[in-house]
């Protein structure tokens, strides 16, 4: 009896309080943001640049007064400690109130773990880097948004670039890392390739162990098979090792390499990556972005970043900038739309729906299923001598709208319905370099 009374009273108080909370929130001391990123492990080649970029960007925003006078306070969680540690840290951070918004994560596996968790904890979560296309195709989320593309447009743009630049190739082989990304990206790539150019023959499929230190045997076999094109969606140390070993043994002279993540390895590969290979950067991400390189904000950031890290920017830097741009744009929009000093959580979520924002690349729009629409930049490697490493020429930026799986459809099924006409019809901007 008493119990029911207490419950009713609490329910009535909560119900009474709710509308007030929805109308406005007090302006906080600071906006606390948590970001998950790899600070240890092989993926720290992405995580550390992203953290450095996030720190610079937050510092810049705070130097200009923050968001409506509220400075951002960003803290990082290491994804390298494993999914178990990540989820408990994530939960702790949100439940203790030390983060109002979360940016998570790099690993697709972690995104899939965190999406339902964010929903449970009712914390707005911006997926800032992970690639899996399954998140919004298999689930509907209210609190989870993605401020970048996913594997489908990334692979589709790669196939289109390959078909536009090498229309006559006959054979292909693949060397991908043996884990979810290596397998999934090949599924999408090969499905799209079969749909648009059915006569291509797949000569060999290699999935060496993740973190493999040696590709010599694969390279020998590839030299014996002589495929026209060799695809590898590998990244980090694996990609570096594969390209270096292939370069040492002349495989780069006999086959065209298609490397959708090589933008993040250009500087480390130095002179090993010779002319004429296809390079991508998971979106329109390139430290010499042809649309953006003359813009003042772009140049200012690039020199700040190079000064801090001694390296050129790679795509996770761009992805971090997009997440932070989305965050500030959403707060600004929510403040303006509602005429408040500081938005409530509901107002923030409403502002994120359909939000358009611009990080270091072109504008990105979040569409109705919370998936970001991001354009895709690919180019061909060239050693110009301006840098001690390969840069890109014959750059194409594909329109993200046409490459992203329509809302409510499954990527693999949708990709099967495409055909060769897309190579001509797709919207693309071309640049010499």
């Amino acid at each position: 009896m008493t119990n029911r009374f207490v419950k009713r009273t609490v329910a009535a108080m909560v119900a009474g309080a709710l509308p007030v909370m929805a109308i406005a929130a007090d302006k906080p001391e600071s906006l606390n943001v948590g970001m998950t990123t790899f600070l240890t492990g092989p993926a720290s080649v992405f995580g550390v640049p992203a953290r450095n970029a996030a720190e610079i960007l937050v510092e810049n925003i705070n130097a200009e007064g923050g968001i409506n006078g509220v400075p951002i306070d960003i803290t990082f969680i290491d994804e390298g400690a494993g999914a178990e540690a990540l989820t408990s840290e994530y939960r702790r951070m949100v439940e203790s109130g030390s983060a109002e918004v979360m940016l998570a994560s790099i690993s697709s596996g972690n995104c899939q773990t965190i999406a339902p968790l964010a929903e449970d904890l009712q914390v707005p979560n911006l997926m800032w880097d992970c690639g899996t296309q399954r998140i919004f195709e298999e689930n509907d989320y209210q609190y989870v948004f993605r401020t970048q593309a996913n594997a489908t447009p990334e692979m589709l743009a790669t196939v289109l670039y390959l078909l536009k630049t090498n229309p006559d190739f006959k054979t292909i082989a693949v060397v991908n890392q043996d884990y979810a990304w290596g397998r999934d990206s090949w599924d999408i790539f090969s499905t799209a390739l079969k749909a648009m150019k059915p006569d291509v023959e797949v000569l060999a499929e290699f999935f060496p162990k993740f973190g493999s230190p040696d590709f010599s045997t694969e390279i020998s076999r590839l030299q014996a098979l002589q495929p026209d094109v060799i695809l590898s969606t590998s990244w980090g140390g694996d990609l570096d090792t594969f390209v270096q070993q292939a370069s040492q043994r002349g495989l780069l002279n006999s086959s065209t390499f298609v490397l959708p993540l090589a933008e993040s390895s250009l500087e480390r590969l130095g002179s090993a990556l010779t002319d004429g290979h296809i390079v991508g950067g998971r979106g329109d991400h390139y430290f010499l972005h042809p649309d953006r390189r003359d813009d003042e904000d772009f140049q200012a950031f690039m020199s700040q970043y190079e000064e801090k890290t001694g390296e050129v920017s790679v795509y996770p830097v761009f992805h971090a900038s997009q997440a932070i741009a989305a965050l500030t744009a959403a707060y600004d929009k929510a403040i303006e739309d509602n005429g408040v000093d500081w938005p409530s959580e509901d107002q923030l979520l409403a502002a994120l729906e359909g939000l358009t924002f611009q990080g270091l690349g072109r504008e990105v729009t979040i569409r109705e299923d919370n998936q970001g629409i991001e354009d895709q930049l690919l180019g061909t490697s060239v050693q110009t001598g301006d840098y001690p490493f390969a840069t890109m020429e014959n750059i194409m930026i594909f329109d993200g709208d046409e490459l992203t799986t329509p809302v409510g459809e499954n990527s693999l099924e949708w990709v099967q319905t495409l055909d060769a006409s897309m190579v001509e019809s797709v919207t693309v901007d071309q640049y010499d370099n």
Binding site: T40, S44, V48, E205, F206, D214, E218, S220, Q223, T241
Partner: protein, 301 residues
């Protein structure tokens, strides 16, 4: 499978086996003498690679010829052995020889974890790559497939030299005989005046130098990055366990088996290639739990 493909797979397997053997040799030597399974061996391998890349990068930046990368590998290996291996044995392992195997394993594993973080502290998380040594030797072409002289000829040559050298050293030199005697029966050796502490320290340094040398020799072919030590310790442990702990010739044969098994798998059934080393290990240990060349040890009372 025609002859050309067979030979190609053979070459790849031999080149790979050579590197694995060099690392496994140090591991099995230390085990054979001290009866301690040194997990930190993997870290010494990684640090050997990092040191080589750093030294080579530094020396080449001063404008010296790339051929200098070879002596620098040796320098790095010796540095690792003496500066890390030496203190490790002297201050730490020496205290736990009488303790249970579980404790020994835990201690060396702890050292491994600590050294992993030290690497991250010193070299960061960025992959390094310096193939000056490999490029200095050029390429050769076999059946239309290009190999590097470094991997196809130099590495196997070094592996064979080390194997023969180690055999000669243990059987025909005084120090080698002292080591063998201490291995056979520590107490008896001490009673006739062998300084077992010194022998252990010396052996451990040699083992550590071999780990560092493995890393140094691997460095021109692969990206140097955090985690490389863990992979190598697992693989070389598979080699050592399959061969029989402490068996040097056995380690050579097993490394060859694993290298060939892996490369033939890549040609015939690539999905299998990761599994092959461990499959060989399981099959061998099922039939001979003491390893291919191991002898069931008589328990002392």
């Amino acid at each position: 499978m025609n002859l050309a493909i067979f030979l190609l797979a053979l070459f790849d397997g031999v080149a790979y086996a050579a590197l694995v053997f060099i690392v496994a040799l140090g591991l099995t030597l230390i085990f054979g003498v001290m009866r301690i399974l040194n997990v930190a061996h993997g870290s010494l391998y990684a640090i050997g690679a990092y040191t080589t890349v750093t030294l080579t990068g530094w020396v080449l930046a001063l404008g010296f010829a790339p051929i200098l990368a070879f002596p620098l590998m040796l320098v790095s290996a010796v540095l690792v052995g003496v500066l890390i291996g030496g203190p490790l044995e002297y201050f730490l392992l020496r205290r736990i020889y009488d303790k249970s195997e579980v404790l020994q394993l835990l201690v060396t594993f702890a050292v491994f974890m600590i050294l992993e973080d030290v690497q991250r502290l010193v070299w960061g998380t960025r992959p390094y790559f310096d193939s000056s040594a490999l490029q200095a030797l050029g390429n050769i072409s076999v059946f239309g497939v290009t190999y590097t002289v470094y991997q196809l000829i130099l590495l196997p040559l070094i592996a064979v030299t080390l194997l023969l050298g180690m055999r000669f050293f243990l059987r025909h030199t005084l120090t080698g005989k002292l080591i063998t005697a201490t291995t056979e029966d520590r107490e008896a050796a001490q009673s006739i005046g062998v300084d077992a502490d010194k022998v252990f320290l010396f052996t451990f340094i040699i083992g550590a130098v071999l780990a560092g040398l493995g890393g140094a020799l691997a460095s021109p072919t692969t990206s140097i990055l955090p985690g490389m030590g863990a992979d190598m310790i697992v693989l070389s442990f598979a080699v050592v366990a399959t061969a029989g702990l402490g068996q040097i010739e056995g380690a050579a044969l097993t490394a060859l088996m694993i290298g060939l098994g892996r490369s033939f798998a890549v040609y015939l059934y690539p999905e299998f290639s990761v599994l092959v080393p461990y499959l060989i290990m399981v099959v061998v240990l099922l039939v001979r739990p003491e390893g291919l060349f191991g002898t069931p040890s008589a328990r002392k009372i």
